[in-house]
């Protein structure tokens, strides 16, 4: 389909649809083509050699590890890193001063916390040590018991949200949920039969 732009397709869709004034003729093929072309235009280059816009190399490596820990790969779908969540977080953080404090400062907090405990950064800590830290900051009740954790809990909560954002706005995340739609239908079928009982 080289040489045809998304613009052309949308134009054809508009003309085709307007032409179908008697029958409900919807150019489904044109819509499907539009989808494919948008994908191709935007075909991203995930992971690998991404150069972070905001985070330092060390911070970005920490972010990758955290993202994949928050939403890991499983038997059904890939993890948050494969879905591009770290790039998404880095891009938005590079543009937003509040995020720079929340995520840039938050990652510093995490390293400070690990250095105090283990004399190692989060990245250099052992898997067991990392789990110990995350199990502390992943739950609000821990900050109630130990107020010195509250900044870490707040940071992790924001990062968890943003990782979910990056994952569930990706092709992988949307497929994981088995969303069906974003397409043109000639007839709206309504709700399939409700399960009985």
């Amino acid at each position: 389909m080289a040489g045809i732009s998304r613009r052309d397709v949308l134009k054809n869709l508009a003309i085709g649809a307007a032409g179908g004034s008697v029958m409900q003729v919807i150019p489904v093929e044109a819509a499907a083509l539009a989808h494919r072309m948008v994908h191709n235009e935007k075909a991203a280059t995930p992971g690998g050699n991404y150069a972070p816009k905001y985070f330092s190399t060390h911070q970005y490596a920490t972010l990758l590890l955290l993202c994949d820990t928050i939403i890991p790969k499983d038997e059904k779908s890939g993890g948050a890193v494969e879905a591009g969540a770290p790039e998404f977080i880095d891009l938005l953080t590079s543009e937003n001063k509040d995020y720079q404090l929340e995520f840039g400062g938050g990652l510093m907090w995490l390293d400070n916390f690990c250095l105090d405990r283990f004399e190692k950064t989060f990245l250099d800590a052992t898997p067991d040590q990392r789990k110990e830290v995350l199990d502390l900051i992943a739950y609000r009740k821990n900050a109630l018991a130990d107020p010195s954790l509250s900044q870490g809990v707040a940071f992790f909560s924001r990062l968890r949200n943003m990782t979910c954002d990056g994952f569930y706005s990706s092709k992988i995340g949307i497929a994981d949920l088995e969303y069906i739609g974003n397409t043109a239908l000639a007839v709206w079928p309504g709700c399939p039969p409700l399960p009985q009982g």
Partner: protein
């Protein structure tokens, strides 16, 4: 700086604003044979280029939330070009203690590009509410006066719905409604048990081809703008036929500043800033129609001060800017496990709800005057940024358990938005700020706003209703609201529902109102206001359909007066 650049031509009418009210006036007036110059502060809209129909979140690097995540505040970057709460260089101010948010849409078509397409008639009683309960004012016109225009607007723009004979929600000229989604079927079932009326929604979306426009293709993305114009917008449905007459001159990037008045006390035209060059320009017209949005039109009138009209044009009553109303808004959502039993299926449908809850307690004694309707949503919507914040907050933790929780919760949420009637009060109005001007040098608005106990009790009732519906569905109502503070029972700040109206109220008495029943200012016969400003009450029906009906009616009157030589 160069002097004022004056248009050589004198038009029959200058319309300010190209949204629902201005677009309708431009269409009716040009089709009636008048020459019209239309001033629009924003740029033209180009559906093919600007509308993001069929895009996925991952098609944009910011996944729909814009640079720095900041577009989320203005409903995200997938929406049709839609305006913003805060515009660089165009501030407004709020009086101490007042919270009012003003959404402005500077683009051809205005807010009709992205609106929810909810097209509800006001009911007969809505025009005579004061007679009924002693609050506010009655309209100078009745339902019978406006009903033929509701018929005309619905027939022209296309509205789906069903005749249900609900007295708070009159029947209209309807296209067939779409079948309900699963979430809506379950809500309807619960409402039936609770004796709450739940009926097919009424949206300005084509379920059949109409006037050369194609039927809906059910992608669920009306808010993004529709390339096939299967939903209503002024930019695609009102402006093109006006253009076709050859009688319409559209000037974009034209920020209206003042209505110019002659020594005879009649309007001569409109001064505006050409935003591209910052030059002051002026167009001359025999009649001026303001449809810049309720508050923007009030601002224009108040800024049009002259020796003859020292308090602003059309303001001998002192009512311009007064009676500012928004809809009462409170939202909530619940988790409904029953929905998790549904197999994956296409849930998109038309943009917006297929079913809704009209005001159903109109024949009872309630703890508040007037009423509200409930808009419903939820189910297997297209995933995107923000969808799982609540789930993540409640699940906490990380890893496989979190991922499973998101998967299990997907499609199981149902959402409710209560939209109710505010009673005008003396603490809610806009006026010209004595100090601040915008980047065009135009004095800005200062807002005063206060919800009364009436509105707060309505919000409380909304929250209780949402909860009872969710629990009747076997679900868990998840929204928690405070009972005090600035947002008791989840009541949103003034302006947030974007139904601000009332700032140039119509009435029979020039001492207490700004315009007459034909939207014509009492003080200056060749000035009309055809946006939300003339609305006397703001019932629980979204105002756009009524704005269009009033604008059509005012335009017919204007044509008639022009023929008689009265204007």
């Amino acid at each position: 700086m160069a002097q004022v650049i004056r248009s050589p031509q004198k038009y029959d009418v200058c319309v300010v604003g190209s949204g629902a009210g201005g677009g309708m006036a431009a269409k009716i007036l040009t089709e009636g044979g008048l020459s019209v110059v239309l001033l629009e502060a924003g740029p033209p809209v180009n559906p093919e280029k600007d509308y993001k129909m069929f895009m996925w979140p991952y098609d944009l690097p910011h996944r729909g939330v814009g640079v720095g995540g900041k577009a989320a505040e203005n409903f995200g970057e997938f929406l049709a070009p839609n305006g913003a709460w805060h515009i660089e260089g165009e501030p407004y101010t709020s009086a101490p203690g007042s919270e009012f948010e003003w959404f402005r849409s500077r683009i051809v078509g205005g807010r009709t590009n992205h609106w929810g397409r909810i097209a509800l008639r006001f009911a007969p009683v809505d025009f005579q509410s004061k007679t009924r309960d002693g609050l506010g004012e009655d309209w100078p016109i009745t339902y019978e006066d406006i009903a033929p225009y509701y018929d005309k607007v619905e027939s022209y723009i296309g509205v789906f719905g069903t005749a249900e004979n609900v007295s708070s929600a009159p029947n209209g000229v309807f296209l067939p409604p779409p079948k309900p989604r699963c979430s809506e079927l379950l809500i309807k079932k619960a409402c039936d048990k609770l004796n709450i009326t739940c009926i097919p929604a009424r949206l300005a979306i084509l379920t059949k081809p109409l006037n050369g426009r194609a039927a809906c293709h059910y992608c669920g993305q009306c808010g993004r703008g529709c390339v096939t114009a299967s939903n209503f917008s002024s930019s695609q449905v009102l402006i093109p036929p006006a253009m076709k007459t050859g009688k319409l001159t559209m000037v974009t990037g034209a920020m209206a500043r003042e209505v110019v008045v002659g020594a005879d006390g009649k309007a001569q035209g409109v001064s505006y800033i050409d935003v591209a060059t910052r030059a002051e320009k002026r167009v001359y017209a025999r009649t001026v129609v303001l449809a810049a949005s309720a508050c923007e039109s009030a601002r224009l009138l108040l800024n049009s001060r002259s020796k003859l009209f020292p308090n602003g044009l059309g303001n001998s009553s002192g009512q311009v800017g007064r009676n500012l109303m928004d809809s009462v808004g409170s939202d909530g959502w619940g988790y409904v496990p029953e929905l998790s039993k549904m197999p994956p299926h296409n849930h998109d449908g038309t943009g917006g709800m297929h079913y809704y809850i009209p005001w159903w307690k109109y024949d009872r004694k309630n703890e508040f005057p007037r009423g509200y309707h409930i808009e419903i949503g939820g189910g297997r919507d297209m995933p995107g940024v923000g969808m799982f914040h609540d789930v993540a907050h409640q699940t906490e933790g990380y890893g496989a358990a979190l991922k499973k929780s998101c998967r299990d919760h997907y499609g199981t949420g149902v959402g409710f938005s209560g939209r109710g009637e505010m009673i005008p009060n003396p603490d809610s109005f806009c006026e010209i700020d004595p100090v601040v001007v915008d980047q065009w040098g135009i004095p800005v608005l200062r807002f005063h706003f206060k919800w009364s106990e009436y509105e707060i009790r309505q919000a409380k009732d909304m929250q209780e209703t949402f909860k009872s519906i969710v629990e009747t569905m076997g679900g868990d109502y998840r929204t928690r609201t405070a009972i005090d503070g600035n947002h008791p029972f989840g009541i949103q700040s003034g302006g947030k529902i974007i139904h601000e109206v009332g700032t140039a109220r119509m009435g029979a008495d020039p001492k207490t109102s700004v315009v007459n029943g034909y939207c014509q200012t009492h003080d200056v016969k060749n000035v009309f206001v055809t946006d939300g400003a003339p609305l006397v009450t703001n019932p629980d029906k979204n105002p756009t359909l009524t704005i269009m009906a009033l604008s059509w009616r005012a335009s017919d009157y204007l044509l008639d007066e022009a023929r008689k030589g009265n204007i």
